[in-house]
Every structure is written in C-alpha cells, then in structure tokens.
Amino acid sequence: MTFAWRTVGMNYLQYSSIAARALRRTAKPELQSEIAKREGMAIKVAKWEAGKSGMPAPASVIETRTVAEN
C-alpha cells in the first residue's frame, strides 16, 4: 500500500502538518486565537556548502498558497 503523498515526494511530517493545519482551520472562532499560536513559524534555514553558509531563508514544513495569500 503505497501512500499517494509519498509518490509525489512528500514525507510523513509534511503530510501530517497539512492534516494538522486543516484541522486547526476548522476550529470554532473563539478558539482560533489560542490555536494560531501553534502555527507561527519564524525559523530560518541556511544551507552550507564546503564550510560556507548560504543565505538564510524562511523554513517551513509546507508551502501553501494560503500563506502567500495572507
């Protein structure tokens, strides 16, 4: 049983992040403020080649269009 998301190159963490994000979006408005805290992502990643650091770029598990729209 091969998972559909595995065939497109997603790993399990990305898959569960998307599922978690969908679940968070369905929460009632009064709980949204508390739940939004779990989503903020400020970390930056820099790839290193041969002892030199690259430019830091924002890291996220998944890039979704909703993020760009916001």
């Binding site: 049983m1 963490l13 930056k44």
Partner: protein
C-alpha cells in the same frame, strides 16, 4: 612661619581636588551600575516567567519524547557498529544564559574530534559560531531565529523535514545533543539517539511482528521529529532557567558593587569635608 601654612594649604587643596575628581568618578560609576542592576533584575523577572511557561510546555513535550523512547526501549533497538551518524546540536540564538551554549559546543567538538567525518546540523546561532570556527566543513544546515518562543511541533517538523528531504546527507543514526533540564538551577548536556529503519527492523522484539515497509518509513520520520521536539523544548526550558539564575547572580553582584561604592563615596565625601574643616581651622589659627 608664613610658608608653613601656605604649604599646608597647597597640599590640602591638592588632596581636596583629587578627592573631588574621584568622587565624581564614583558617582558616575554608581549611576551606571544602578542602571545595570535594574536591567538585570527585569531580565530575571522575564526569564522566570518564561521558565514557568517553558516548564509547562516541557511536561507536554516529554510525552512526545516518551513515545520514541519507549518504542526504542521496548523493541530493544541497538546501534549498529559502523553506523553513519548525523549530529544535531540543539542550541539557540540568545545569549546571557550562563554555560548553556558553551557546554553544547564543547560536547559537539568532543564528538567531532572522535568522528571527523560526521555531518552536523546546527540549531541556533550561538552554537553555530563556535562550531564554524573548528569544523566548518562538517556543517550541512544551520537554523536560526530559535529560542525566543517555545518551539512548536510545526517548527520541529520543518527542521526534521529539511534534514530528511535532503538526499545528499546520508546518515543512519541521528544523535541529538541538547541540554536536559535537571532543576531550576542545574542543567546537563545530554544526547538522544535516533535509529534508522534497518536497526529497528533488526530489533529482536520487533522482528516478531509483520509490518509493511511504507509504514516503517513514516514511523522513522515521526520518531525523529518526536525526539527532536523533546530536545528542543527541554533545551528551551533549560536555557530559560539558566538565564534566570545568571541574571539573578548578575543583580546580586551589581548590588554588592553598589554597596561597596556607596561606602567608598561616603568615606570620600567625609574626607573632603574633614579637609575643608582642617583648612578653615588652620587658617583661623594662623590669624
């Protein structure tokens, strides 16, 4: 007869001016150190509130880590003899927290001295700066903007996912170096081992069951994220506690210096007054 009081007056004036300059210096120092002690006291307050919050999050995150731990223990997974290991150093960007970052950097350097080919992923700028000096070619990824808030599982997934998706980094085991929260005034640098699928499959208690390969890969990724999340949150709690005690020590030291300087200032002030009195009395007696 006239010369002696004049000489006495001149030396008295000289001593007076010297004391006055020192008095002004002491006053400036006192002002600046009082400011410093106010800043460190407020930083201690902030750090103690962050510690309580971080400790609560740590209790929750321990449940994540327990999943990986219990699974590995129950299955009795063992480390392979020649496993390629990836070192993940879990530190942060913020300073003024005592020996947190230097302890991590020291352990990382010790490990890299024994395994000079191991790839390294550094979380946090403080450890990155230290490792970049000694082993720049081992570093594969560095993550920054960590340490101001309690890590979320989303952030942990981002880190783990970046490492897992990169096909250039070949590793079997992952070794997570982090600071374990021992108490509000003590921490200990510790490591968590994350095993690959091959080792899990070889584990004696795991072999007894049927499994599907695809599910195993999911489990592997999930276990790495779990352990990493535990290390991140616990490291954050340890850092906040260390920051609190470092700021408390700084405030106490500043208070000691303030007391010492105040005494010195008062003594200096009294010496100036005494000298003035001597001048007046000598002058009056000369008349």
């Amino acid at each position: 007869m006239l010369a002696r009081p004049a000489v006495a007056a001149r030396t008295a004036v000289f001593v007076q001016t010297r004391n006055m300059a020192t008095l002004k210096e002491i006053q400036t120092r006192l002002k600046s150190i009082t400011n410093i002690s106010k800043i460190t006291a407020s930083m201690k307050m902030i750090a103690s509130t962050k510690t309580t919050r971080a400790q609560r999050a740590m209790k929750v995150a321990r449940a994540y880590g327990k999943v990986s731990n219990d699974f590995v223990k129950q299955a009795e997974v063992e480390k392979a003899a020649e496993a390629k290991e990836l070192l993940i150093t879990v530190s942060s960007d913020k300073g003024l927290c005592g020996g947190i970052h230097s302890s991590l950097a020291r352990q990382s350097r010790k490990y890299l001295a024994e395994n000079p080919d191991a790839p390294v992923v550094v979380l946090g700028d403080k450890a990155k700066v230290q490792l970049q000096r000694a082993y720049p070619n081992n570093i594969k990824y560095s993550f920054s903007q960590l340490g101001s808030t309690i890590p979320t599982f989303d952030e942990t997934s981002a880190i783990a996912s970046t490492v897992l998706n990169d096909k250039e980094i070949v590793f079997d085991n992952a070794k997570l170096l982090y600071n374990r929260f021992v108490s509000a005034i003590a921490f200990e640098t510790d490591s968590i081992e994350c095993f690959p699928i091959e080792q899990i499959v070889e584990a004696p208690n795991f072999k007894a069951y049927e499994y599907q390969d695809e599910v195993l890969e999911n489990l592997n990724e999930f276990l790495l994220a779990n352990s990493l999340h535990w290390a991140l949150v616990e490291g954050h709690a340890a850092e906040m506690a260390a920051k609190r005690s470092a700021m408390e020590n700084a405030t106490k030291n500043a208070g000691d210096i303030i007391n010492r300087l105040t005494l010195q200032y008062n003594r200096g002030r009294q010496a100036v007054i005494t000298n003035e009195l001597i001048d007046i009395i000598t002058g009056a007696s000369a008349l």
